[in-house]
Every structure is written in C-alpha cells, then in structure tokens.
C-alpha cells in the first residue's frame, strides 16, 4: 500500500510542477460552464420550464455537470498508448507494482486535484453569479448519487484503460480516441441532458454505457430518476464495469503477447 501512496504523492507533485499550465488547464473548464449556464439562463428568461426541466433544475444540471466532468471525465490514461509505442511500458512491467494499479493511482491523484479545483471554481462562480443550486431529493437520494458517481469513476477508468491498450496495435490510437471522447461527452450528457433529444435518439444513446457516467447520476441527484429506477441504474453501472474489466483484461492479455518493446 505504501508504494501506491508514494506514487500518489509523486504524481500529485508532478502535476503541480508547472503551475501556470495547471491553472490554465483548470481555467478551461470554466468556458464550458459559462457558455452553457448563460445559454440556459437566456433560454429560460421568460419561462418556468423547458423539456421537463424547471429553471432551477436545468441550471443545477449545468453546475453539477461541471463538477462531474472533473470528477468522472478527468483522466490521464490517454498517455498509455505513447508509453507502449515508445517502449516505456517495459520499465513499468519490471516494477513490483500492478500496471493497472499504477495508472489507477496516478488517475486518482489527477482526479483529486481536479475535484479540489472544480469545487473552488464552482464556489467562486456561485459567489459571484449566485445561481440556483438544488440539493438532492432525500438522504437516500444523496447516498445513491454518491454511489453512482463512484461507480461512474471506476467505469470511466476501466473504459479508458482498455482503450489505452490500443497502443499495442497502433501508434496512431489518439485519432480514434479523440473520436471516442467526443461521442462519449455528448452521449454522457456532459453538455446537455440527453432527454431533451428526440425519443429515437434517446433510445439509441440509452443502449450505450455513456449515459451512466453523468446523465443518470445527475437524474438521481435532481430527483428525475425516482427510487424505483435506482437499482436499475446502479445495476447497469456494475454490469458495464464488469464488461469493461473483462474486455480490458482480454485486450491487454493479447496486447502484451504482441508487445515487442520497440524503443524501450
């Protein structure tokens, strides 16, 4: 455990090495918040609700979505393909540490920083703009929301780690990954709630794992997903995690057999 803790601390320090870059990086998330917050504020100027969302619910969705983008969608596993193609993986495989654990620890350090920054940014935003922010519907709802966020983080990490394994087959995996990230962000509800889309589009997106990263947890938080749906949401998240763990193991197993340590 101590070695993971040391790795966590080292990773934390490394990310704060160039502080100007870190601050700029965090400043980026504010652009999404500002554009969507003011878009919905303007849309709801003379209305009490839109697409089944009250004004307060929609603005809370935008604010909470900013937090969840930092909590769930921040990750550093996109560096894995370069690690494989440059042969740096060999060095890590020789260390007395699990490779997935190595990245999970670094990812946790990155998330901790992102979470802390996102909370500060959002607090400042709330202090200046004073937007409405609804709380969860009940204590049980808050607990289920926290659980679904935790599962969403694990699910995204597994998904992302699995994709990192594409580096065994090509050094150009950043292209498909960019494509995947764009698809994921929109289908996860990281820009707009999915249920404002036409029913057919919602149905297609519903088959994907992505809505369980942001949209469904936020539906629990806003009380739009009642207690009767909680088991289904959590069950789906657990199922998708299992699927990605299995796929990831398979992919990494095959990949490691192909690995030729080029450049290492």
């Amino acid at each position: 455990m101590r070695k993971y803790l040391t790795l966590f601390m080292l990773s934390w320090q490394k990310q704060l090495e160039v502080r100007s870059d870190f601050i700029f990086e965090r400043g980026r998330s504010m652009a999404v918040l500002l554009s969507l917050f003011y878009l919905w504020s303007a849309l709801l100027t003379n209305r009490t609700d839109v697409a089944g969302y009250s004004r307060d619910q929609m603005l809370t969705y935008v604010l909470m979505m900013t937090l969840l983008r930092a909590w769930v969608l921040s990750n550093i596993t996109d560096r894995i393909p370069a690690e494989i193609s440059q042969g740096k993986l060999s060095e890590l495989l020789l260390r007395p540490i699990s490779h997935q654990g190595y990245w999970a620890t670094q990812d946790a350090a990155s998330k901790m920083l992102a979470i802390g920054s996102a909370v500060i940014e959002l607090s400042l935003f709330m202090l200046i703009v004073r937007p409405p922010l609804l709380g969860p519907p009940s204590v049980a709802g808050a607990f289920m929301f926290a659980l679904s966020i935790l599962l969403a983080m694990v699910m995204y990490f597994q998904m992302s780690y699995m994709l990192g394994g594409l580096g065994f087959w090509t050094a150009q995996s950043w292209g498909p990954r960019f494509c995947f990230e764009v698809l994921l962000e929109f289908s996860a509800g990281a820009y707009f709630p999915i249920d404002i889309l036409p029913a057919a589009a919602q149905k297609v997106i519903g088959w994907l794992p992505f809505p369980y990263l942001i949209f469904h947890p936020l539906s629990i938080y806003l009380g739009k997903a009642g207690p009767e749906t909680w088991a289904s949401i959590i069950g789906h998240q657990v199922m998708w995690i299992a699927v990605f763990v299995l796929l990831s193991r398979k992919l990494w197993g095959v990949g490691l057999r192909r690995y030729a340590a080029e450049g290492g």
């Binding site: 160039v18 100007s20 870059d21 700029f24 990086e25 400043g27 980026r28 652009a31 999404v32 500002l34 554009s35 003011y38 878009l39 504020s41 303007a42 849309l43 100027t45 209305r47 839109v50 697409a51 703009v129 090509t170 150009q172 995996s173 950043w174 292209g175 498909p176 990954r177 960019f178 494509c179 995947f180 990230e181 764009v182 698809l183 929109f186 820009y191 707009f192 404002i196 889309l197 036409p198 589009a201």
Partner: protein
C-alpha cells in the same frame, strides 16, 4: 512581388510536408476528422432539439442561432488550418528547433505558423458551408450583397484577431518557456462564441467585445450578414484587430529580445 512569391513557395512546401504527415497517419487523421464531424453534428442536433421546445432565444430564431454556430466553426477551423504551427512554440524551444528557425531566411512567425497547416480542417469546412447556406435560406428576407461582403470582411478581420492571439501566446512561451496550455484556454474561450454574445451578462458581454474579443470575431460577422450590426460596430471591429495585431507583434519582438536558448 518576388518576396511574396518566395513566401508562397515556403508555405506550399511546409503545407505539403504537413499533408504528407497526415496522410502517413491515416487512422489518427481519420479518427480526428470523424470526431470533429461528430461534434458539429451533435451540437446541431442539440440546438435543433432545444428549439423544438422553444420558439426563440433573445429574439433569435433557430436558423439565426445555427448561423452564429456555423460562423464560430468557420473562424475556429480556418484559424486552426492556418495557424496551428504556433501551438508548438514551447516544444520547438525545448527541442532546440526554435533557434534553427530564427537563423533561417524567413520571418520566424510566418515559418512557425505555416509548419502545422491542418488539411483535415478543410474537410470540416464542407459541412459547415452547406449548413450555413441551409440556415441562410431559412432566414426570412433577402441577404444583400453588401451584407455578404461585410460578412467576408469581418471573418477576415476575425482571422487577423485570431492570428494576434496565437502570436501573443507564442510570445508568452518564448518569454517564459511555459504556458503550453494557454493556447487551449484560447480555444475554449473561443467556444463561448458558439452562441451570440448577447446571451451573456453585461460584464461578460463587455469583456467579449474588448479584452476577450470572441464577440467581435464570431457574433459581429453573423450580425452583419443579417443586417443587425451598425457601422460603428464594423469600424470598431476593424480598429480593434489593428490594435491587437500591432500589440501582439510588439510583444513577440520584445519576447525575442529577451529570449535565451535552452536546448541547442
């Protein structure tokens, strides 16, 4: 004139190199291109879905909103196509290539910005063009020739402002050897122009037409095309771009005077 031809040949040679690099990484380039097209499609889908529930936004119809969104894409994509090389100033400095460029018989800024001509972005302009014409055909009233010419003039003006921003960030890297993320902050701030700046609060609106001129770059051209921009606004936009351009050039020269080589 011979000098212009010489620079034309330099640009063509560097653009040719970029194209060959992109063609040699088909999977990465393909994924990147598809991702960009997916992003535009999703934003369009969400925009149309929102306006299914609402008649207008601050007096703008859905087709006018699409025009703003497409103007944002046009300016953003064209700037990436032309100035992408300036994203990598810090990398050039770290690798020692910056020193080599400074000794070459071509203007360093021109040389660097032409290094990363991104042909993939040209492909994304095709759907942008089609959707723009579709939106224009749906907006009631004729678009006059003068309005069309003003649109072209103000988009060109936006490119000059975009170039000034790129030069300013490049100069910041020369001066500090940091701020790698600054260009991404610029890109994210640009995304605030997906919607007309009139939706933002008074303070932000003021900022977006002065210090962070995203409104001048995106909202003004679209407003001019729809006959909503006054002559005062047009003169202001042209004046601002000249001031920003001169300021950025002065900052670049000053940064070069203070530059210390670190890698050659």
């Amino acid at each position: 004139m011979p000098e212009l031809r010489r620079y034309g040949r330099i640009w063509a040679a560097l653009a040719h190199n970029s194209l060959r690099t992109q063609l040699s990484t088909v999977m990465a380039s393909g994924g990147y291109l598809i991702g960009k097209l997916i992003r535009i499609s999703f934003f369009m889908a969400y925009l149309l879905a929102i306006f299914d529930h609402l008649p207008s936004l601050k007096g703008y119809t859905v087709h006018q909103m699409v025009l703003f969104f497409m103007t944002f894409n046009l300016v953003d994509v064209a700037a990436q196509f032309l100035f992408r090389g300036l994203y990598g100033v810090k990398y050039l400095i770290e690798e020692g290539d910056f020193d080599k460029i400074l000794t070459q018989p071509a203007h360093a800024l021109f040389r660097i910005s032409s290094m990363g001509v991104d042909f993939l972005d040209l492909f994304t302009l095709v759907p942008v063009g089609f959707i723009t014409f579709w939106a224009l055909s749906k907006i009631p009233g004729e678009i006059s020739l003068v309005a069309g010419l003003l649109y072209v003039l103000l988009v060109a003006n936006a490119m000059l402002i975009a170039y000034a921003c790129h030069v300013f960030i490049g100069a910041l890297s020369v001066r500090t050897h940091e701020f790698e993320s600054a260009i991404w902050v610029y890109r994210d701030i640009m995304t605030l122009g997906r919607f007309p700046v009139t939706i933002y609060s008074d303070l932000l609106r003021g900022l977006f037409v002065t210090v962070i001129p995203v409104g001048v770059m995106v909202t003004f051209p679209a407003q001019a095309l729809m006959g909503m921009l006054t002559w005062k606004g047009i003169v202001y936009a042209l004046g601002l771009s000249v001031v920003l351009h001169l300021g950025a050039q002065a900052f670049w020269r000053n940064s070069l005077r203070n530059y210390t080589s670190i890698s050659s």
